[in-house]
């Protein structure tokens, strides 16, 4: 049906796909698993025409194809159901399905035909709603059905589903699995991406494992297990991928968060952070992790709760207050919040602690010395520190955003997704850096979506769901399954 040979895709800082092969049979559900950054999304986006491969080929029913955009992919029968659904809320279901190719009667829209035709596709997906409701009024699961109906209306032979259950409830998930089974019978092939290995075992025929942009293996589900898949995903390097954990700390908390709340996001969250401790904060996207961190450092107004430093209650209203009290927060979004892309690498390093070098007049020599110190210490590979930071790789940018805050000499460091968009080598350097900082007595809170990262790095992991602390895991209890069980209600039952 679909065959992929030696696909390569490079981004400025990282080789996302490095010669990946894959074959998809007619009427097959084919799972693709891998850690974040393993290349799953890149592969799917190339197949759906969003990206173009740098090398390698894609054969559709034996013929080489090269989609320049999603339109060409859909025309060839390949449709992607996105994680963020691409529907127009203001339009009806039928209008969304036929968007851009509405049936016409002369110059006018043929609304009746559109409705009738849409109903036919909705029947195929067993839709509980009709073609004339507004998409904006539907639940996420409903919107997903519309997307699938839309794909069917294009006579799609291949559906690419990117984390389709991430946003679904338990019942909605099983309804989706029923639909997938029906589509299979109609000989539709499905590429199914998910983090949830157990789900894979239920819904897929075969599973392909990717790691660091390379194909590891493709297995029939009968021949594998979630544990085996997890090992394959992480690879043999699992042991030394993470640095040795610094000795488990003791003493009184450097930071105590007591019952903080942010309307709609965080509800009565409390935890302590000891000096030298690395604590993970896990939770699904939208669980309130980032909001909680921003509330602690004064970037977001909190409606309740207090923060204590070394046992003393402190008032934090702005990031400046937090900085003064030795609390630093490295944002998850480097480009939008973490760094000033138009400024140079050097200027970004000293931006938060500029007062130390410019009060009010810049002391050039002192500033240059500090910048050089950080660039050397953290191994930032910046050819010219006075060039725009925009041109650095993701990993080096991330080091600079950490350096910027380390320069303020914090006692508490909150890192939000510190390895997002960072290649494997730089990831390791960042893990080593965090371990070293903790060993020097810095209290670290690491927010991450990569459970393996938290397990490998942290002394203990806090799990939040819908803004509430669901539990704390330490030692051997820190496993992906346990974290997931706490992080998501659906998987709790599945596990």
């Amino acid at each position: 049906m679909l065959e992929v040979k030696g696909l390569v895709k490079e981004f400025p800082s990282v080789r996302a796909l490095d010669g990946v092969d894959l074959d998809l049979r007619a009427g097959e559900v084919h799972g693709v698993v891998g850690e974040n950054g393993a290349g799953k999304s890149t592969l799917m986006k190339i197949l759906a025409g969003i990206y173009q491969a740098d090398a390698g080929e894609v054969l559709l029913e034996g013929k080489a194809v090269r989609f320049r955009n999603t339109g060409e992919a859909i025309a060839s029968g390949v449709a992607m159901i996105h994680q963020e659904l691409n529907l127009v809320d203001e339009l009806s279901v039928a209008e969304n399905i036929f968007l851009g190719r509405e049936p016409r009667k002369g110059p006018a829209l043929d609304r009746q035909k559109m409705s009738v035709d849409a109903q036919a596709f909705l029947n195929e997906v067993h839709s509980p709603f009709g073609p004339d409701v507004k998409v904006g009024s539907l639940s996420v699961a409903g919107k997903q059905l519309v997307e699938i109906a839309k794909a069917l209306s294009y006579e799609a032979r291949i559906l690419i589903m990117d984390e389709p259950t991430a946003v679904l409830s338990d019942r909605e998930t099983s309804a989706l699995f029923d639909l997938i089974a029906r589509l299979k019978k109609r000989n539709v092939s499905i590429l199914y991406i998910s983090h949830l290995l157990r789900e894979m075992m239920i819904v897929c025929d075969r599973v392909t494992v990717l790691r660091d942009g390379r194909l590891i293996t493709t297995l029939a589900v009968e021949d594998t297990s979630p544990a085996l898949l997890a090992n394959l995903m992480v690879g043999r390097e699992l042991e030394d991928y993470y640095p040795a954990k610094p000795p488990f700390p003791s003493g009184s908390p450097a930071l105590s968060v007591k019952g903080i709340a942010v309307p709609r996001h965080v509800h009565e969250l409390s935890f302590d952070l000891l000096p030298g401790e690395i604590v993970g904060l896990a939770g699904l996207v939208g669980s309130g992790r980032t909001e909680a961190a921003e509330a602690i450092v004064g970037l977001r107004a909190k409606s309740a709760g207090t923060v204590e430093r070394d046992g003393m209650p402190i008032k934090i209203r702005t990031a400046r207050d937090a900085m003064r009290h030795g609390i630093a927060y490295v944002s998850e979004d480097r480009k939008a919040y973490g760094l000033i892309m138009q400024m140079s690498t050097a200027q970004n390093v000293t931006l938060a602690n500029l007062k130390a070098y410019a009060n009010p007049v810049v002391n050039g020599a002192k500033e240059r010395a500090a910048i050089k110190g950080w660039i050397d210490d953290l191994g930032v590979k910046a050819g010219n520190p006075n060039a725009q930071i925009l041109f650095l790789s993701g990993g080096n940018q991330q080091k600079v955003s950490v350096a910027k805050w380390l320069d303020t000499k914090p006692k508490v460091l909150i890192l939000d997704e510190p390895t997002r968009g960072v290649d494997v080598g730089a990831k390791r350097e960042i893990y080593n850096l965090i371990a070293k900082l903790a060993a020097e007595g810095l209290a670290c809170l690491v927010i991450s979506s990569e459970m393996q990262e938290l397990i490998g790095l942290c002394h203990r992991v806090l799990v939040v769901r819908e803004g509430r602390l669901m539990g704390e895991l330490a030692g051997d209890d820190m496993t992906e399954q346990n974290i997931m069980a706490l992080a998501a209600a659906v998987q709790q039952e599945a596990a």
């Binding site: 927060y329 944002s331 000033i340 892309m341 138009q342 500029l354 007049v361």
Partner: protein
């Protein structure tokens, strides 16, 4: 831009050597454009900080009017002309700084877009100025000392121009150069300048970097107002009166044009002071050439518009 200025200057000198090679030409060009130059320099800072100030022209009308009213009141009360003139300067500068703070606070605390706030200021300040003299003019009652603000200055020794007159660097020109130095220093050598660039480039990231963005922005408008007040009282001195409906009229637009010609990004986060100075002089030179050329007044606007666009295009070619 400097090259464009020099090329234009040489071309002009070849065309009309009698005008350009006269030693009075350049000082006069600078003098005529000093007020717009002062405004443009601080407009550069405001724009680098991600803002804009459309109110500055109207603000000048108001600050100069109040300065002159203070002057006349004091002289009426028997104060000496020098003291009254000093008071007029202080009033104009202080009112300018105050109005700048009003703009800045409305933008930061009020969370209203700079364009809107200063558009409102543009209407309001001019209106208040015209109320002060029923739309007419306010005459200075100090023809000796106050008028010196616009015409007087420091005499350059040993340099004698036509008709045995010494070259005088006028007060507005001195303030113009001082402004360029102050703004350039602030921008390039202080924490404030670094913060201003950060705020203009990415305000969110600046907040996340523990920068007090409101303070940074308010200061840029206060500086703008303060120096606009100084420029305004200089203009009033030059005329020895304030035409409330006209003083500073369209200065904001001339200043923005000069800033843009100088290559400063309208979206903030990037810009230079010295190129703005060149931009001001370039615009002034073009205006001078158009006047000298005797080109119909109906056409001059069109020519100026085309030249502004050309200058920006050349500038872009350089920076990319």
């Amino acid at each position: 831009m400097l090259i464009a200025f020099i090329v234009l200057m040489i071309g002009y000198a070849i065309w009309r050597p009698d005008i350009v090679l006269n030693p009075e030409f350049l000082p006069r060009l600078v003098n005529q454009n000093a007020a717009v130059g002062i405004v443009a320099i601080f407009m550069t800072l405001v724009i680098i900080g991600g803002g804009i100030d459309l109110s500055v022209g109207s603000m000048m009308g108001l600050t100069a009017s109040l300065g002159l009213l203070a002057l006349n009141k004091l002289i009426g009360d028997g104060t000496s002309q020098s003291v009254a003139t000093l008071a007029a300067v202080v009033v104009s500068v202080a009112v300018g700084a105050f109005l700048g703070a009003v703009n800045g606070i409305a933008i930061t605390w009020g969370k209203i877009a700079p364009f809107i706030v200063t558009l409102a200021g543009m209407a309001a300040y001019r209106s208040i100025a015209t109320v002060l003299a029923a739309g007419g003019e306010i005459r200075s009652s100090s023809s000796e000392v106050f008028a010196e603000l616009g015409r007087g200055g420091l005499t350059v020794p040993f340099l004698v121009l036509e008709r045995d007159r010494a070259l005088i660097i006028t007060w507005p020109v001195i303030v113009f150069f001082l402004s360029a130095l102050v703004a350039g220093f602030l921008l390039n050598w202080t924490r404030y300048g670094r913060h201003l660039i950060a705020v203009g480039a990415n305000e969110k990231a600046a907040i996340y970097s523990a920068i007090n963005t409101s303070k940074v922005k308010v200061y840029s408008y206060v500086l703008m107002g303060l120096f606009a007040g100084a420029a305004a009282i200089g203009l009033a001195g030059r005329m020895n009166s304030v035409s409330t409906s006209q003083l500073g009229l369209y200065y904001e637009l001339d200043a923005i044009a000069a800033v843009v010609i100088g290559g400063t990004s309208m979206s903030g986060g990037r810009g230079r002071i010295w190129t703005t100075v060149i931009g001001v002089l370039l615009l002034g030179l073009i205006t001078n050439m158009l006047v000298t050329s005797g080109l119909s007044v109906y056409w001059q606007g069109a020519v100026k518009g085309v030249i502004i666009l050309l200058a920006v295009l050349i500038q872009r070619g350089h920076s990319d």
